[in-house]
């Protein structure tokens, strides 16, 4: 807790109101160190509109690159007359961009609910823990980060490659794809989507306890020989006697141990398949 008491505060404002270069992408780049670079930091990113790409690298600073797109109000791109309040002109308030706060080794990047695309490409020290949220405007991608990953999306995919396997990822409309060349086995791995496939690649020797749930039309495909313990929970709704229909619900939940069991893995989709692949 001491870390939090010694608050080393770094606040950086990234203003995206760049000189008008209409149609062209202008990139803003900023590097922010964690207050205690000797320890694993935590990065929290919360966007409404924009893809998030995070890549681990052999360095100490967090490097944020953002692509500001045409939606930014600039003097050269005069605002259309407000239709909401005819006759009045809207003022472009300063601070339409991104905000980066760092305190106690926790870095927060937030974006106001801005019209424009605030997609970010971020490089972080390898052991950084991540908490990433976005709603629209592209995918969440994480590569080569060994810290814990908590990613949530609404309209887009989540793709995670190389890491420790301590992941909680969730989207509503999109795939969740994850592949690991090793599992550290300590923290759980949970991949959840509503409309989309869950696609997980594990090393051949991975030790895991799997719980996989699908609904509706989905199927489960696996490269691994699984010792399956429960399968196909069926419930029958026979309502013909009261002029209803007959329906067989098959909710498939498969619980299986991989190589004798180990890391807790939950895979869950409503409309979609589950693919369990063996790393080649």
């Amino acid at each position: 807790m001491n870390i939090y008491k010694k608050i080393a505060l770094v606040v950086v404002f990234l203003f995206l109101a760049l000189p008008a270069l209409r149609g062209e992408e202008a990139a803003e780049r900023v590097a922010v160190p964690f207050s205690d670079p000797g320890k694993a930091g935590r990065l929290e990113v919360s966007l409404i509109n924009g893809a998030i790409t995070v890549i681990g690298y052999e360095g100490k600073e967090v490097i944020v690159e953002s692509k500001a797109q045409a939606q930014v109000v600039t003097p050269a791109a005069p605002e259309k007359p407000s239709s909401k309040y005819p006759g009045m002109k809207r003022l472009a308030a300063a601070g339409g961009g991104l905000r980066v706060d760092e305190a106690g080794n926790v870095m927060k990047i937030t974006s106001p609910p801005w019209k424009g695309d605030t997609s970010l490409a971020i490089r972080v020290p390898l052991n950084t823990s991540l908490e990433l949220h976005t709603v629209n405007g592209g995918d969440i991608r994480v590569e080569n980060v060994s810290g814990e990953i908590d990613a949530s999306h609404v309209n887009g995919d989540i793709v995670i490659a190389r890491g420790s396997g301590a992941v909680a990822a969730h989207t509503v409309n999109g795939k969740v794809v994850a592949s690991f060349s090793r599992l550290d086995g300590k923290k759980p791995l949970s991949l959840v989507t509503f409309n989309g496939d869950v696609d997980l690649t594990l090393p051949a020797a991975a030790k895991a306890n799997l719980k996989m749930s699908i609904n509706n039309e989905g199927e489960i495909y696996s490269d691994f020989e699984l010792a399956v313990q429960t399968e196909n929970v069926r419930s029958v709704e026979d309502e013909r006697y009261r002029h209803g229909r007959y329906r067989l619900n098959i909710e498939k939940t498969v619980v299986a141990a991989l190589n004798g069991g180990g890391q807790e893995i939950t895979l869950n989709t409503f409309n979609g398949d589950i693919l369990l692949r063996k790393a080649k």
Partner: protein, 271 residues
């Protein structure tokens, strides 16, 4: 500080959970009282040796058993509405002990060991010892609950997932844990964690308060995955009170059609 008071506080000193003033008072007492000093030495030695034990890992059969049990519980809940589940859990108890994270296990073993010794020494008859063990075994459940609660308060979602896994395996889930699980279901920022909480709450099939809270929670859920899981849970419980909550969901225009369909099927099954 007197001797019984000091002895009570020794485990806290081991875990470094005393505040500075109390710790100072206890140390002062230890300096002046050979009996307590002796006990402290023994405790400390046991504690350090426990640290050398290899870390216990839950075997795959444990998880298999858990999900078998959960499945059976779901079916039974669906078939009979409610049934006592506590006996099952208690029958399952010996296996559960192996699940603690190392330190938790160490603390539990230490408490049991010290208590066992103390029980034999003080009680000198089986009954007193048995009572002592009974009390200490509930202590194990309590410690396990503490671990779950502390994991569930972590900023990391994967740590909270771990907390729920542990909570689902608690032989004697206390009121605090139940309350925390319901709080997690209602307010945890991670959908993955909320979904896992629904799974753990299957174990409270017989608890009317939980069933009522689950119905109320349905209206607060925004993620379709959690909505579906919660509908399935209420249907498995045959919770009649949930019908109005399900109907409200069916009338809500923000709800996805698949979820509404699930709710509709659920209402028919419940009533």
């Amino acid at each position: 500080m007197n001797c019984p008071e000091a002895k009570n506080k020794l485990p806290d000193l081991l875990q470094n959970s005393l505040d500075a003033a109390e710790s100072a008072r206890l140390r002062e007492h230890l300096q002046s009282c050979p009996a307590c000093w002796q006990e402290w030495q023994e405790l400390h030695e046991t504690w350090s040796r426990l640290g050398l034990l290899p870390e216990e890992q839950p075997g795959p059969e444990l998880r298999r058993d858990f999900y078998r049990m959960l499945e059976a519980e779901r079916r039974e809940a669906a078939a009979a509405g409610r049934r006592p589940w506590r006996e099952r859990l208690l029958a399952w108890l010996p296996d559960l002990r192996r699940l603690q994270p190392a330190m938790q296990l160490a603390a539990a073993v230490l408490v049991v060991a010290v208590g066992f010794g103390a029980g034999l020494f003080i009680g000198r008859n089986d009954r007193a010892a048995a009572e002592k063990i009974e009390r200490l075994s509930s202590e194990v459940g309590r410690l396990q609950q503490q671990t779950s609660l502390s994991l569930l308060s972590q900023p990391s979602a994967t740590a909270r997932l771990q907390g729920i896994t542990l909570a689902a395996q608690n032989p004697e889930p206390g009121i605090e844990l139940r309350r925390k699980l319901l709080m997690v279901l209602d307010g945890d920022p991670s959908v993955n964690v909320r979904l896992q909480a629904v799974d753990a709450l299957y174990l409270y099939a017989g608890d009317p308060e939980v069933r009522a809270a689950l119905s109320a929670s349905l209206a607060r859920q925004t993620a379709p995955q959690v909505q579906v899981a919660l509908i399935d849970l209420l249907v498995a419980f045959r919770e009649k009170q949930a019908a109005s909550a399900l109907k409200k969901l069916m009338a809500d225009e923000k709800i996805l059609p698949e979820v509404k369909q699930r709710a509709r099927a659920g209402v028919d099954l419940i009533l």
